[in-house]
């Protein structure tokens, strides 16, 4: 079994869409994602998952120099930010892609699949 990182990225357009979502839209997505998470757990594929607060709330710490430096904001200015993720166990990439297909439909966003290093 290999662990895969399934990440959901939000760009500015996606962020705007999210903000424009109605209560019902949000509720529908939460229900879908909840059902998907339940399925991951029921089939033993679940390792961990979470949704992240908006990128404005991130803080960077750099301790590579003499003194740690704390700065407000993301590591790099980018058009896309990580919005949420799943870590799953799957037999191979095909199985991981199948989970990603279901996850993408559930969260109504594009999902990137990236394998963890095995050791």
């Amino acid at each position: 079994m290999t662990q895969y990182f399934l990440s959901v990225h939000h760009d500015e357009a996606g962020q705007a869409e999210m903000e424009a979502m109605t209560e019902d839209d949000m509720q529908r997505m939460f229900t879908q994602v909840g059902a998907f998470n339940d399925k991951l757990q029921a089939e033993g594929a679940w390792v961990f998952a979470g949704g992240l607060q908006p990128i404005e709330q991130s803080t960077c710490v750099d301790a590579t120099g003499e003194k740690p430096v704390v700065t407000d904001g993301p590591f790099a200015e980018s058009k896309e930010y990580l919005g949420g993720f799943w870590i799953i166990e799957a037999a191979d990439l095909d199985a991981a892609l199948q989970w990603a297909t279901e996850g993408s439909a559930a969260c109504e966003g594009k999902v990137e699949v990236r394998p963890f290093q095995s050791e």
Binding site: D92, L93, D94, A96, L97, V113, R114
Partner: protein
């Protein structure tokens, strides 16, 4: 027995996919499989000219490569004592020309053409591992530096390993879609040979069309019941049958002007048999329909004998299962023969293909036939600007310069 280096290399190339696939299944690692197979070639080059070619060269290569792989794994594992226990991988699966081993090649091709790999990496891996071409040959085929191609292949193999792309034939539910990806790789290789897209290459590159046909034949052996596999092979054979008549004096010769006596009747016979087999199966798909179009062309002894209405029907069918402006363009060419250039031009003019050379070539020809020379000249210029193929440029330039009137 006189065994030349070329003969050894030819056998090696034919057996490459089988040997790599068998080793990949056995050792679960494409790198190990590929390197061991290459090492087996070196042994063959040394031994066969002295001892003669063994009765079953594929089995010999698989055994030799398998031993090389075990040697390598032993060497590596000795450096890494904690894995010592896992050292003794053994597999006594005999090498056979049918059955399990054929399945291995099928697994190999689906792994090489996995949708998680970049399209250019799929082509490169398929030619390298299944086709047995060297990295240098593949680099030359796609006119990129050898180091670039080597990196592309290395990166793709690293992804197969790191992301755990499975070495397996897809489940029935996914087979049709995944197979379409495999066929697209083969057809892409064929098309680059059919009409080279580069000014720096020969206009027709038979090393590529031949290789694509060889891959098509392998797929046909592996998947005898898939009509699209038969369709693609038929399409390539029927197209290739016209090869020697497609260029004369450095100039491309369009289909209606080709010397039909020069068409390869053996390839045509084989292609027609495949098309008939597809018709009998009655599970049409895009390659089968394109093959059928080519069967109609190769059936006609002269251009005037061409059953254009049949061709229009086939393109209409194709447009209904795989809608695309390219299909509409080809359909319009046939419509011109049935209903005249004016009707066809109206169809062509609404297609969003202004950066595609064949669009301008078709328009130029229709406008020429309508006597609209000035517009035809512009269309020839647009076509020339959109193609780098030397033979096509020579043909278009002559046609443009022969236009009469303003």
């Amino acid at each position: 027995m006189d065994v030349t280096r070329t003969a050894v290399e030819r056998i090696f190339r034919d057996e490459h996919g089988r040997v790599v696939a068998a080793l990949a299944r056995r050792f679960g690692d494409l790198d190990v499989a590929e390197d061991a197979t290459s090492e087996a070639l070196l042994v063959a080059l040394e031994k066969w000219p002295v001892d003669g070619v063994p009765p079953n060269p594929g089995a010999w290569l698989t055994t030799t490569a398998g031993n090389k792989a075990i040697d390598r794994i032993r060497r590596e594992r000795q450096r890494d004592v904690k894995h010592q226990a896992a050292l003794m991988i053994s597999d006594d699966t005999p090498h056979e020309a049918t059955g399990l081993v054929e399945d291995d090649r099928l697994r190999l091709v689906f792994t090489c053409c996995h949708p998680a790999l970049a399209p250019e990496a799929r082509v490169a891996l398929t030619l390298r591992l299944l086709g047995g071409l060297t990295v240098a040959e593949i680099a030359a085929a796609f006119l990129v530096p050898e180091t670039t191609m080597a990196q592309r292949i290395t990166r793709a193999k690293a992804k197969i390993k790191g992301a755990h792309i499975p070495f397996r034939v897809p489940a029935a539910a996914d087979l049709a879609e995944r197979l379409a990806g495999v066929l697209a790789v083969v057809y892409l290789v064929f098309n680059e040979g059919y009409l080279s897209s580069s000014a720096d290459a020969e206009p027709l590159r038979e090393e590529l069309t031949d290789e694509a046909i060889r891959l098509g034949r392998i797929l046909r052996t592996l998947l005898p019941d898939e009509p699209e596999v038969a369709g693609l092979l038929a399409l390539m054979l029927l197209t290739d049958a016209r090869r020697t008549t497609r260029v004369a004096g450095g100039e491309l010769v369009p289909l209606p002007e080709q010397d039909r006596g020069g068409w390869d009747r053996a390839l045509i016979g084989e292609g027609h048999a495949l098309v008939r087999e597809c018709l009998a199966r009655n599970r049409p798909g895009q390659y089968q329909l394109l093959a059928a179009v080519n069967a109609v062309h190769t059936d006609a002894l002269t251009v005037a004998d061409t059953d254009w209405s049949q061709i229009v029907t086939l393109y209409t069918h194709l447009g209904s299962i795989a809608p695309s402006p390219f299909v509409e363009l080809n359909r319009a060419v046939a419509v011109a023969e049935l209903d005249g250039p004016e009707v066809a031009l109206a169809l062509v003019d609404r297609l969003p293909l202004t950066s595609y050379h064949a669009f301008h070539v078709t328009r130029a020809d229709l406008l020429r036939r309508l006597g609209r020379s000035a517009e035809a000249r512009e269309a020839y210029d647009a076509a020339l600007a959109a193609t780098e193929n030397s033979a096509e440029r020579a043909y278009l330039t002559r046609r443009r310069d022969q236009l009469s009137g303003p």
